[in-house]
């Protein structure tokens, strides 16, 4: 049943990165580290976490089995879902104001 677990790896990694970045953002804004919303340290921390999360996909892509058939394709699809979701849902760390309401 390895492939079933492998299928969940990509989306799970997205979920973890999403939660970590969102939590870090919550902690940063709650501590008032970035009262005016443009603190560079805050943004760099969040971007760093985001990039780490994206890098974590690298070993997964290396480990996923090649081949045809759904048992190989679904884990690969899972990784792409996770990667695209991580890029798409967290790219706002680059462009939006961090703690401004």
């Amino acid at each position: 049943m390895k492939w079933l677990g492998a299928m969940l790896a990509g989306p799970t990694l997205w979920a973890v990165v999403f939660v970590v970045v969102y939590a870090a953002h919550g902690i940063i804004c709650a501590d008032g580290l970035s009262p005016s919303g443009t603190s560079q340290t805050a943004r760099i921390t969040l971007m760093g976490l985001w990039c780490l999360g994206l890098l974590a996909f690298w070993p997964l892509f290396r480990a996923v089995p090649q081949g045809v058939g759904l048992r190989a394709q679904l884990p690969r699809a899972g990784l792409w879902i996770g990667l695209v979701a991580t890029v798409f849902t967290l790219f706002p760390v680059v462009i939006t104001s961090s703690c401004q309401l």
Binding site: S36, P92, L101
Partner: protein, 218 residues
Amino acid sequence: MKRMLLILPMVVAGCGGPLSTLAPSGPVAADIAWLWWAMFAGSAVITLFVLVLLVLSLGQPRETAARRWTHGLGLGFSFVVLSLVLGAGLVVGERILPRDDGAVTVRAHAYQWGWQFSHDGPEGAPVESTDLLHIPAGQPVDVLITSEDVIHSFWVPRLAGKLDAIPGRTNRLRLMADHPGTYAGLCAEFCGSGHARMRFEVRAHAEWPPELSEGPND
């Protein structure tokens, strides 16, 4: 799109009213109204497109590449459209955020069921008013929103979006009225049996702070 622009003023006329988001009277509400019209036009086109595909499907079987549907339309098409919409939303969202630019600050305190407003008077002392908020016209205003009891929501549709009044928190909403006048507002979050009656007015003044002839508590 061009046609859309011609029809727009007519449609807007029919969609007016003291609480209409489609009759904006300030830059924040106007930005959002434009966003709406653009998304509405796009949605109409996409709905038509899907309906045409459906009508065309009612016929003889035919060869069709699966990937054209799942990858081409399902992934590619939707992804491009959605990225554009999200981008526009984030740009507008950033534009209308409150900034530290020395905007006039007024206060809105919600309770079951009414609003206690205050602004800084000529001498700097706060001037209180009930169910009537005074703001300057033609310049950005930040409203500090708080609540006495349950959750309410401060909304003046022709000036800006809404923001909740939550006990234990202070929220800051940026709005601006282009011209002096009176604008209708209401509580948008259900707050109990007086919810429907929890209306208020915003009066935008040309000079600021205003001379309030009626007294502070009108």
